[in-house]
Symmetry: D3
Subunit: 338 residues, 6 copies
C-alpha cells in the first residue's frame, strides 16, 4: 500500500558544464534542481507513494524555477515554504576516464533552507500528514538551526508513530576540522531516533568512533553493523560497497541488516554515465522495500538495481520506474525497445 | 556497372532526444528522416548506383522537409509522390549501458504512405525504370493496401526481368496477436517472388514455421536456410547473427547462402554509437556485392563491415563510402586521418 | 477566495523549430505541451486557484513527459487519465515580419484524448470536486465521443451548481466543408449550458448564423453580443478585437458584456514574441475576474493585460503572475528589474 | 513550361556566428553553403524549373557536405565537378540595429572553383543540356581562368540558342585598386553576350563609365538604363533601389526595362532578418517571369516580392514557393497559418 | 598617449537564460563574467590603454574561469588576487517588449571580493603602477571592508598624482532602508577625492540631498551639476539622460561639465539588444576622451556613441573599437560590411 | 624558478563538428584556436612560466578572436604580430570506435603566419626577452620564408645563451612527394641548433635516414637515439611510443635520453576523449621538467602523465595544472571531487 513519505532537506541548483568541458573552456551550463531529499522522495513518488519535501525556497525567480522543477519530478509541494533570499548551488565539471569530476559549491549556508528561522515549520502538523520521514547527514552538517529542525521533526514523527529514516552521508568538507568529533553527538542522537539507517562500516569507524581488528571491509561490516543496530536500537541498516574501476565502470554490492541477519545483493558491474545521486536511489529502494514489506533479500536487490540504473541517467535524481528496476534485476542487457 | 535500384517503403521522421536524457527530462529533439528503404537506397547511391525511393509524402512542411532530406542523402526523388496528410514518426530515447534505448511510435497507419490509395503507383512504369527493387517486412505488416502495392510492384519488376530483394525484418509489435500466423502467407508470397532475401534461422522457425532439432544457432542456420532457398526458389539468402555484450559493444557475423554454399564473414566486435539502421547497411552491402558480381565471400565481408561502420555514425542511415568500408575490412583501428 | 477550476481538453505536444528556420532548414525542435485547457488552468493556478485538467494521456514515454510538464505548470493531475496510444502534436515554424508562422498538425483524431471511450470519465465525481469547468470549440470539433464527454460533463457541473465556461474558438480547418452548418447545433447546445462565454461578433455571424446590417466591427459587436446573451441566457460574454500591424506589433482591445452592459479595455499595442495561446490568457483573466468578483471594467482590463503579456513569453502557456499583470495594467515600460 | 536553367558560379561555405555575438565572444558557428548561382537556381528549382549548377567542389569532406547541401536545396548535381582542394568560405557576424553585419572571407582564390584548369568544363555539352545560363559579376572578378570559363560557356549557350543572364553585382573589394577600369572591358563583353541583365544606374555610371547630369536616382536610372540596353543590345534589364531605414527595416523598389518600357513594383517596406542573398531572389524572380512569359509588370512585382520574402528567412538562399510569393504580392500580413 | 588605468571592483558571474525564456521554462544558462570595473577597463584596453583590474577571485574552478575570461577581454591580470571561496553571481532573464528583464542575485556579500581582509591590497604599490583608478557606487555599497579598500586606494593614487574616477551608480536595493542617508557620507568622501565623476541630477538630489525648484530634468541638471562640481572640487562631471520607448528603442543624451561649461551629445535613438553595461561604456568613453585630451564636445559625443553601440552587443562588456565608435558618430546605418 | 619561454608557430582555427556527426550531417561547428606552439606555451604558462607566442595573425575579426582566445589560454601576446589576411583552419570530424577521426585543412599556406615577410620579426629583440624557444617540424614544412624565420630566431636565441627546443613532428602530407629527402637538411640544421629534441626512432630512420638492424621498436630506440644525440650534439632527447587499442583506449610510454642514460615512464593505458594535442602536452612536460631541474625519471613520468590527461580534455590545448598532473602520477582513479 502506498505510503506518505516526506524528506527534510535542502534543494540545490545543479549547474553542469555540458559534455566534458571545464568551466574555463565553456560558456554554457545546464541546470536542474536536486538534493538528497529531493532525489529520495522523487523516486518514492515514482514507485507510487506520495512524496513530500519539507524545505524552504526563496521567493524569487530561482525559487519559482526550483518549485516548478520539483513538481515536474512528482514531488508534493504543500510542505515547501517560500522565504529567504538564496538557493544553494553547485557547479559540476564532468570528468572523463582518469580525470575526476569536479564539484564547486556556492555559499549554501546563506540559503533559504539553511536560514529558516526557529518556528518556520510546524513539526506536529507535518508529522500528522506523513507515515515516514527521511533525513541525511548533509543537512545535519549545516548549522544549529537546521539541526534543531531535524531533531524536532524526527521526534514529532516518532511520537505520532511514523518511521524515521536517516542516511549518514558524512561529507568531510562540510564539518571542517575535527569534523568527526563535532559530528559524533549529532549522529548518535539521530541514530537513537531512527528506524532505518543508511550507512556502512566506515561510518561506524570514523563517525561513531567504533573499532574493529579486522582489515577486510566485509568482515568489518559484519562485525560493526550489528553492533550499531544493537547499541542504537535501529531496526534496519543498509548500505553499499562501491569500487571504481579503470574502464569507466563501477562495481557495487548492497547489504541490508535486519532481525540480526545480513542480506546481500549480487555484485553489480556497469558503465557509469552520471554518478551523483546514485546513493539516494539505493536509499529509495530500501525505503520502498521496507514500506511495501518486501523480504529483505528482495529489498536489497531492488535497491542495488535502482542504484545501478541511477548511474545511467543524467541528473542527480533517479528516473526509473519500479517495472524498469525489476527488469534490470532479472534480465541481461537488451536491444532497443520498440 | 552501376544499377538503378528502387526501394518501396515508408519515410519515418526520427525525433531523438539528444544525449542520454529521457523525454521527460529534455525539451529538445533532433530530427532526421529514415526508413528501411531510405537507408538501403541511400547506401546504394553512395556506392555509385542510382537509388530511387518509391513512397508517398504529405504535401505540407513536414513532407517538404522529408523530401529535402532524402535528396541530401543522394536519393533520386522522381518516384516519390506527394499526397495524404501525415508522416510516420518515432521518438528515440538513447539508452546507456544497462539501460536500453526506447522507441515510441506515432500513429503511422494514418501516414501518407500507408493510406496511398489503389492506383497511386504505376507499377509497370516504375518497373521499366529500374533493375532491382527492395521491400521489407515492416511495410508488409502495415495493411492490405500497402501489401497490394508491394506484391503488384514485385510482380511488375519480376516480369520486366528485374531482381526482387526482400528483407524479412519481422516486427512482433506490428503484427499484433497471432502475428506469425497472420504474417506467414504474406511472407511466403514474397519469398516466392524474391531473388535475394535477408533473413536468418529465426525467421525460418517463427515466421515460416519450420522446425529444427538442433539447438545451436549456427547449426539451425545451416539446416534451415538451404531448405528455405530450395522451397521458395531463392537464389541468395543472407543475414547476421548478433550478440550484445555487457561493455557497450556488439558482436556480429554475417552469412550468405548462394549456389548451395555458405560464406561467412569474420566475427566482428566493436563499440556501438547508434544501432538503428545497421541491419539496412548489411542489406545494402549484400545488394551491392550481388549487383557488382563480387564473389560471395567478398560480398558477405563487405556487408558485415558496412554494418559495423553503420553502428559508429549517428542516425539510421549508413554514411560510409565503398572505400571506407574496404578499408575497415582490411585495416586495424587507425589514428586521426590528417 | 481561490476556486477549484477544471478544464476539459486535449494536451498537444508543440514541436517548434528554434529561431526563424523552416522545418526543411533545421534539424532541431523544442518541445513543450499545451492546449487551450492546459493554458487556461495553468494561468488560473498561477493566480492562486486550484487548476485541474480533465484529459487522457498515453501510457508511454510521451505521456510521462506530458504529465511531468503539466505538473511543472502547476496543474493538478489527479483527474488526468492514462490510456490509448498517441498524443496530438503540432509543428510550429516561426514567421518573421511579412512571412507568417506556419502550423502543421499530426493526426490528433487518433490521440488518447480523442479516443477516450464512453465511460472513461466519471462526470459526477469530477463535478463534485470543482467549482467551474472550461471547454473550448476546438475539442467540440473533434468527434461525437468527445462531444458527448463535453456535454455530459457540462451538465453534471451545472447540476451541481458549478459554472460552465465556453470559449467558442472556431477553427475552420477542423470542421471541414460546410463547417458552420455542422458546428451550429453543438455551439448552440454549449451556449445554452454556459455561464461565461468567450466569443466575438464573428462567431455570432458565422457560427450562430446571426445577421447584422452594420459594417463596422464594433457596431456589429454591440448589436449582436447582447442578442446572443439574451437568446442563450449567458451571463457573461467576453472577447477581443485584434489587428496585426506591419511592424511586428499587434493591437488588441478586450470587451466584456454583463448585466446588459459593455466594458472595454484600453486599446493596447505591443511587440509580439509568441502569439499562440494569447487568447487563452485573455480567457483566464476573464475567469479570474469573475471568480474573484472584480468589477467588470477591472476584469476586462486585467484580461487584456494578461493577454498582452502572454504575447511576450515563449510557449503557448501564459507565465505571468497576478502581480505582473497588475503592474502591466498601470505602469509604462520599465528598465531592468534588479 | 519549366525550363532547364544553369548557373555558373562558386559555392561558398557560410560560417555564421549564431545570434548577435561576435567571433571573439562565441565558440559556435552555423554553416550552410551558398553563392549567387546556388541561390538563383535553387529558387528556380523551387518554382518548378530544373536548376543546374556548373561548379567545382573539392573531393573531401567539405566538398561532400557542400554537394549534399546543394541536393537538399533541389539543385541538379550532374554538372558539378569534384577536384582541387579548397572551398571558399566566409564568416558572418550579425549586426544589430546601428551595428552593421560583418563578413570576413577566407582565401577563395585558391578554391576548387577558382583553380579549375582550362578544359575542366565541356562548354558545348553543357550548353546542349540547358535553356539558359546565369553568370554574375562576383565570378567575373576572380581571375583570368574563371573569366575564360564564363565567356566560353556564355558563347556556347548563345550559339545553341539559349539565353544568357548576367547579374552585374560589382564588389569593389574583389577588383582592388582601379577596379572599375579593370572591370570595364569584361563587363562590356558580358553585356554584349547577355539577354537579361541585372543592374541599376550605379553600374552604368561606375562600371561602364556612363554619365548623367541628373542627380535624382530614378531620373538617372530612366536615362541610363535605356542607353545601356541600346548600346549592348540587351533585351531585359532589371534591378532594384534599396534604402536602409533606422528601425531595422529596408525599403525596396524593383524595376524592369523591356521593349523600351519601364515597369516598377510598389515600394515595399519590411522588417529584415537576413539580408544576404535577397538580390539573388530578385534575380530569380525576373528570370522566372521571363521564362514563363509573365507580363513585365507582373514579373517585376513577383521579383520584388520574392526579394522581400528572402529578407525574412535565414541563410543566403531564398526558400519561398511561387504560391507564397504570389500571396505576399496580394495579401497583407497574416495571422498564424493553421 | 596610452595610459595605465585600473578599476577596483567586483567580478560577477552573469548567468543568462538564452532567448526570452524564464528560469522556470528553460534548463540552459549562458555565462560570462563582468562588473562595472571589468567593463570599463576592458573598453579602455580596447582603446589602447593598459587596463588593470584590482580585485579578488576564489582559488577554484570558478575563479579560474573568471580569470581566463578577464584575460580574454584584454584585462591585465597582475593585480588580481586569488583567495576566499565564492564568486558573486546574478541570473538574467531577458525581457521582451512590455515585459521587463529580471535580475536575481546570489549572496555577493560572501564573495572573495567582498571578504578581502584588511591588508589584502598594497595600495601604494598599486598606485605606483597606474595613472588613474576607477571606482563605483556599487562597490561602495558593499561593506566597511570594501569601503576601506576603496578610500585607501583612492588616497594612495591621489598622493602619487594619479586621477581618481568615480561612477555614482546608486543602487537602492544594495543600501537597503534609509539608503540615501547611509550612503551620503561615503559618496561625499568619494566626491572630495575624485577628479572625474559620472552622475546626473538625480544623484545630486537623492544621494547628496541637494534641492532644485526646477521640474524639468535638463534644468535641474544645469542647476545642480555645477553646484556639485564646485562644492566637491570635481574637474569633470559627466552622465546621461535615458528614456525607454515603447518600441524596444531607447533614447540617450550625454552631457559633460568641465571648466564651468556643459557639452551635450546629440539625442540618440536606437534599438536595444542588451542594455546591461551600457552605462559603463559611456564612462569608458568619458575616461578615454579625458585621458587623450579630446575637446569636451568630442568626448561626450564619443561616450554617447560608445554607449549606444554597447546596447547592440551581447553581454555587459562593451566590444567596440575606437574606429567603430568614431564611425557610429558620423555615419548612418550601413549595409553589410564585406 | 619560472622561465620566459616562447614558441614560434602558427595559430590554427579548429572547427569541430560537435558529437560524432559528419560534416555532411551537421550544421554546427565549435571553434577554438590552437597550434603546436600555442599548446606548448599555454601549458607552460599554466605551470607558472611566462609563455610567449611569436606568430602573426590577420588584422580582422578572425584575428581578433584568435588573439582573445590566446590571452584566455594565458599566453603573453606582446610578441604576436597582426598583418596579412588569412588564418589557417582545419575541420575535425570525430571518429567513434572503428571509425577514425578525420581532419580537413584549409589552405594554410596563404595564412598570415606563412606569408610573414622577411624582416617581420626582430629576432634579436625577441631573443633578449626569453630564456628558451620552441619550434616544431610542422612550421618547418611550410615554406622557405617560415624556415628562414625559424632558423634565424633559433640562432639569435642560441647566441644570447637561451635554449632551443625542437619537436620533430614530421607530417608526410605537408612535405609531399620525396618528403623525407626534402626535409632532411632542414631537420639536420635544426638538430644542430637544438638543446632539447622531441622525437623517436622513427624520425631517426625516416627523416634522418639512419639505419638499425633491430626489429623491435624499443631496441631500435635504444640504438638510434644515443647516436642522434651524439651526432647532432643534443643534450636531451625525449619522446613516446603509442599504441591504439580496440576498446577506445591508447597505451603510451615516454622516454628521455640525457647524459647518455635512458629514463622511461610507466606504460600508461587510458580512455581517450580528444587525442589531438596530446603530444604537445608531453613536450610541455619535458620542457617544464628540464627548466625546473627535475631528475630525468621525474621529468619523463610528469610528461607522460601530462600527455595522458591531455587525452581526457576537449580541444588541442592541455588544461591540467601541475598539481593535477602530479596527482595523476601517484593516485588511482578517484570518485567525484567535492
Amino acid at each position: 500500500m502506498p505510503k506518505r513519505i516526506a524528506a527534510f532537506g535542502e534543494v540545490m541548483m545543479r549547474l553542469q558544464v555540458p559534455g566534458y568541458d571545464l568551466l574555463s573552456q565553456s560558456n554554457i551550463l545546464n541546470y536542474t534542481f536536486s538534493g538528497t531529499g529531493v532525489n529520495v522522495v522523487s523516486a518514492l513518488a515514482r514507485f507510487g507513494h506520495t512524496g513530500h519535501l519539507v524545505s524552504r525556497l526563496p521567493g524569487n525567480s530561482l525559487g519559482d524555477a526550483a518549485a516548478a522543477y520539483l513538481r515536474k519530478l512528482g514531488i508534493a509541494s504543500s510542505l515547501i515554504h517560500r522565504g529567504g533570499n538564496y538557493l544553494g548551488m553547485y557547479f559540476l565539471e564532468n570528468g572523463f576516464g582518469v580525470r575526476p569530476s569536479r564539484v564547486t559549491y556556492s555559499n549554501r549556508l546563506e540559503s533559504s533552507f539553511n536560514t529558516a528561522p526557529a518556528g518556520e515549520y510546524d513539526y506536529d502538523d507535518i508529522a500528522a500528514q506523513i507515515d515516514a520521514v527521511h533525513f541525511c547527514g548533509i543537512s545535519l552538517a549545516m548549522n544549529d538551526g537546521v539541526r534543531h529542525h531535524i531533531k524536532s521533526l524526527a521526534r514529532a514523527v516518532k511520537q505520532r508513530g511514523g518511521s524515521v529514516i536517516f542516511d549518514c552521508n558524512y561529507r568531510p568538507s562540510l564539518w571542517g576540522e575535527d569534523g568527526y568529533v563535532k559530528a559524533k553527538p549529532h549522529y548518535e542522537e539521530m541514530l537513537h531516533l531512527s528506524d532505518i539507517v543508511i550507512m556502512n562500516e566506515k561510518d561506524a569507524i570514523y563517525t561513531l568512533g567504533m573499532f574493529s581488528e579486522k582489515t577486510d571491509r566485509t568482515e568489518q561490516l559484519m562485525e560493526l553493523i550489528p553492533a550499531v543496530a544493537k547499541q542504537y536500537q535501529v531496526q534496519v541498516i543498509a548500505g553499499t560497497h562501491r569500487s571504481i574501476n579503470n574502464d569507466n565502470t563501477h562495481t557495487l554490492r548492497g547489504f541490508l541488516f535486519k532481525n540480526e541477519c545480513f542480506s546481500f545483493s549480487e555484485q553489480l558491474t556497469f558503465s557509469v554515465y552520471d554518478r551523483i545521486g546514485a546513493g539516494d536511489a539505493f536509499a529509495s529502494g530500501i525505503i520502498h522495500g521496507e514500506m511495501e514489506g518486501f523480504p529483505p533479500e528482495k529489498t536489497v536487490r531492488f535497491a542495488a538495481a535502482a542504484s545501478m540504473l541511477a548511474h545511467t541517467v543524467s541528473g542527480d535524481t533517479p528516473m526509473a520506474s519500479e517495472m524498469e528496476i525489476v527488469r534490470a534485476m532479472t534480465e541481461s542487457v537488451g536491444d532497443i525497445e520498440r
